[in-house]
Amino acid sequence: MSDIHEPHGVHKLEEKANEIRTSIIKMLIEAKSGHVAGPLDMADIFTALYFEILHIDPENPLDPQRDRVVLSNGHICPVWYATLAHRGYFPMKELSTLRKLGSRLQGHPHVMELPGLENSGGPLGQGLSQAIGMALSAKLNGEKHRIYSLGSDAELQEGQTWEAAMYAGNRRLHNLTWIIDRNNIQIDGFTEDVMPLEPLRDKLEAFNWYVLEIDGHNFDEIIGACEHAKAVLERPTVIIAHTIAGKGVDFMEGKYEWHSRAFKGDEAKNALSELRTLGGKIRSEHQ
């Protein structure tokens, strides 16, 4: 569709993800509140989507044929905002308005405000249903674009998620790809302590989904899984993306305490300086 969509090498994508992480931390410093762990761990997936996978045109954000990203766990919106700004949907300088009065960058996304957003969200568990409505609408219209529904692992504790999963699985919605951020944390602790989700793969398969599991920080795997999903026609695909909460900042990684706390003292400065540079350090910790 658009000539803006050019293939990037993995190295370039890693660089871009690092820039986006830097923007996220700067935004949160400026905002003095907001969620940090999720946005950092989803930076690689957002980068892969917006700089490689999606058929989109930031100059024409309402193009009916565009691929859609629906974000269910709206609290990780700093990564959405930062990625959209880096992709050219709106000026970078607007990122510093996050959570401030009059800003288009609301604390949780508001679809009417900002170009590039596809849904409003915050209360957990609402995204997949909306993505299904969009996928059915595309099918009705005979349109070929895809819907990417992004959500967290902990929000699988919401009943609506399973209503939606049951519907999509039974209706064979193959133009829908669901990416679950399996970072294992939620506000009160680790998911498996608060309310276990495992065996997650079995549950999703039982709901008639085609399940892929990837390292959510490995660009080859992210892109490969999204391409793989396009070839699965008999079922919708869910990608369980194993990520590390707070990915990129050593003292945040894997710590549920960073789900939604603000920076104190020198933490922000340290986060920025510790934000890992390239040269292999962003590479998966699962390998």
Partner: protein
């Protein structure tokens, strides 16, 4: 107001308001290819069946999953469709209010929420299925219109009107057969209230099928006691037609509200808010008296919980101290 002839004939035709919804959907199916219908396992009783048979590609059976249904509707609307989602009012918007608030209203998504079986007259199913809080919980949501038509003819008009309105709407209707007392010629516009009967002693504002009981009460009050009631039918609860109601209140200086809904938060609440701000007069409210219902025959229940034409007459006499 071009109401039916022989308005108080004992043999006046009776049809459930929901039938008008079914007819409206069929009309829309033909006239607007963007209209889609989603239903939560209540195809027959919400009158979505005819649409589902005539337009199977645009009909979606969701199963017993009202939260998912509301969210899917938001997705359809964000893609340019006009989804109607139907279930009982106690579930839709009762069960899925958070989805209505965020997925639909916050996004100003063009979703039409259909609450069937609203009111105490649902009858034998009992309190769990008698939707008596739906107007209160929808009236507070920004961007959302709230509509309670009075008979099947007006329901059909309202169904078509909300499809043509760009933005989220909630429409409620009843289970039972009720008198068809408006006609094709009776005016209907979203956001407008209509003086169905002129009077000078008191104003009665009502919505839904109870407007017929109000007309009956007003007629009897006049014949029996020469009390002259102005009857305002307000099918749109939000936005309320404040001008029409205030104008009448200035004339009569006494207002009664009548609705098949909890006495708090619905039409009565909306009228009190408007009058206290614009023209305070004495108000009495007829409705469900802050209690749950129970099983019984519709007419028995309306009688027991104080929403029959007899109760309306008594309320007017109390209001006027006569």
């Amino acid at each position: 107001m071009q109401l039916a002839e022989k308005l108080f004939d004992i043999n006046i035709k009776e049809v459930p308001t929901r039938d008008g919804f079914g007819e409206g959907l069929l009309t829309l199916g033909d006239s607007n290819p963007d209209v889609v219908v989603l239903c939560g396992d209540l195809v027959e009783s919400t009158r979505s069946e005819a649409f589902s048979k005539k337009f199977p590609d645009r009909f979606f059976e969701i199963g017993v999953a009202e939260q998912n249904m509301m969210g899917m509707a938001a997705g359809f609307a964000l893609s340019g469709k006009i989804p109607f989602i139907s279930s009982y009012a106690v579930f839709n918007p009762g069960r899925n209010w958070d989805q209505l608030r965020v997925s639909v209203c916050y996004s100003n998504a063009n979703v039409k929420v259909v609450g069937a079986h609203a009111g105490i007259s649902v009858g034998p199913d009992g309190a769990t299925h008698q939707g008596l809080e739906d107007m209160a919980i929808t009236r507070v949501l920004p961007n959302l219109l709230v509509v309670a038509p009075c008979d099947s003819v007006e329901t059909k008009k309202a169904t078509i009107a909300i499809a043509n309105h760009k933005g989220p709407c909630y429409i409620r209707f009843a289970r039972e057969k009720t008198p068809v007392f408006t006609t094709e010629e009776t005016p209907f516009e979203l956001g407008k209230a209509y003086v169905f009967r002129e009077g000078k002693d008191a104003t009665i504002v009502s919505c839904g099928p109870l407007t017929y009981e109000v007309l009956k009460a007003a007629n009897e009050l006049y014949l029996e006691r020469s009390i002259s009631c102005e009857v305002i039918h307000s099918p749109t609860i939000k936005p309320l037609d404040v001008g029409t109601i205030v104008e009448s209140a200035k004339k009569t200086k006494a207002v009664l509200t009548v609705e098949e809904h909890q006495i708090t938060g619905g039409l009565g609440g909306a009228v009190c808010e408007a009058l206290s701000e614009h023209y305070p007069v004495k108000v009495k409210r007829v409705g469900m008296p802050d209690t749950f219902g129970e099983s019984g025959q519709p007419k028995e229940l309306l009688e027991k919980y104080g929403m029959s034409s007899n109760h309306i007459k008594v309320a007017i006499r109390h209001l006027l101290n006569v």
